[in-house]
Amino acid sequence: MPELVHSHISDGGEHRTSLLRRDVDEAAARRTLRQQIARLERDLSALFTAAHPRQGLAWDVPAPGGPRLLSIGELEVLRDALADRLEVTRRTLRDRGYVETQNRERIEEMLAEPRRFKWVRISNDDIGEPGCKHWHARPRFGLLGMLMGWWRVKISSGCP
């Protein structure tokens, strides 16, 4: 009988220890997830600032709704959604960056040889810069310049 009692008590103790350990582990997991969410949010904010003045980028990340304590599962979903948003936005900005670099090079080429870029128009928006400035390859003196092949790049001064 004493062995049975001892065994019973011992089992209960192990069960409590196991529950306590699970609580501690879960709390630690939630803390880790919150730290990851914090880092991702900071990265996303930095990207938001760096992306200016580019338009048309999505910044929203689906939230489970609050204000409340989120479960581990909800925190994981949120972290993954943030990571996805960050990745997609970075990729979009990389792609745009490539196009913007191409456009900058094109402006250089346009300025060097306007005749090769007849009627091409590149704006600040196309090179990821703020403002309304644009470069437009057009003929000097209108129709006459067009017939004579007198092309030039006209640079607008800015917003109307």
Partner: protein
């Protein structure tokens, strides 16, 4: 000038403190009424409007305090792009309206403190607050203010010692906010992890100063 009652720390439910190390609420009580703001406060709002511009609004989310609130919003299930943290909301409103509009001493004091420090101060009718203010998690079936909106279990609330009197960032329970009959106000500033004590103290001081000197 000091707050009429000294600034003190409100209570935080231990479970919540464990989950969010650094979460707290600073509280103070002041004898003040809501009324039209005097010229000095309006001038201060105008000055803040003048020094606030699009560039600052754009970079705001990278400022340490604004970032801390943003992160906390994420961590408690709110998308800050959807429901803006208070300082960002104030900045957007400034951009939209062209200035920080003067409304009354309470709203103006909160706005000045918010824009100058980034910390959001809440004001309640002290006569409707039972005991100290604190932060806790709602229990299933609980209602805001006892008879208001039903709160889903686990909602983060500002509470007095009897009931939830407001969402941590959001609605105030009916009858607990400042009204024309209010003579004493209980001020509370939620300090999220990452916000320094000195900013919270400054925000409370600014609010108390404007409210008690108006």
């Amino acid at each position: 000038m000091e707050a009429e009652a000294p600034l003190r720390r409100g209570w935080v439910e231990p479970a919540l403190r464990t989950e969010f190390s650094g979460l707290g609420i600073a509280v103070a009580e002041v004898a003040a009424q809501s009324r039209r703001s005097p010229a000095g406060v309006k001038q201060r709002l105008k000055h803040l409007s003048d020094i606030t511009h699009g560039g600052r609004a754009l970079a705001q989310r990278r400022e340490p305090i604004a970032s801390a609130y943003r992160i906390f919003f994420r961590q408690i299930g709110i998308d800050p792009e959807d429901i803006r943290p208070p300082a960002e909301a104030a900045m957007l409103e400034r951009m939209r309206a062209g200035r920080f509009k003067s409304r009354n001493t309470v709203d103006d004091a909160i706005t000045v403190a918010l824009v100058e420090t980034g910390v959001y101060v809440r004001a309640f009718d002290a006569a409707q607050v039972q005991g100290d203010l604190g932060l806790r998690v709602s229990v299933p079936g609980e209602r805001l203010g006892g008879d208001g909106l039903e709160l889903p279990g686990g909602t983060l609330v500002i509470a007095d010692e009897q009931r939830a009197i407001g969402l941590i960032f959001g609605d105030t329970a009916p009858g607990r906010g400042v009204s024309p009959d209010t003579r004493r106000m209980a001020l509370g500033a939620v300090q999220v992890p990452g916000v320094p004590d000195i900013s919270v103290e400054e925000a409370m001081w600014i609010c108390s100063d404007i409210l008690t000197s108006s």
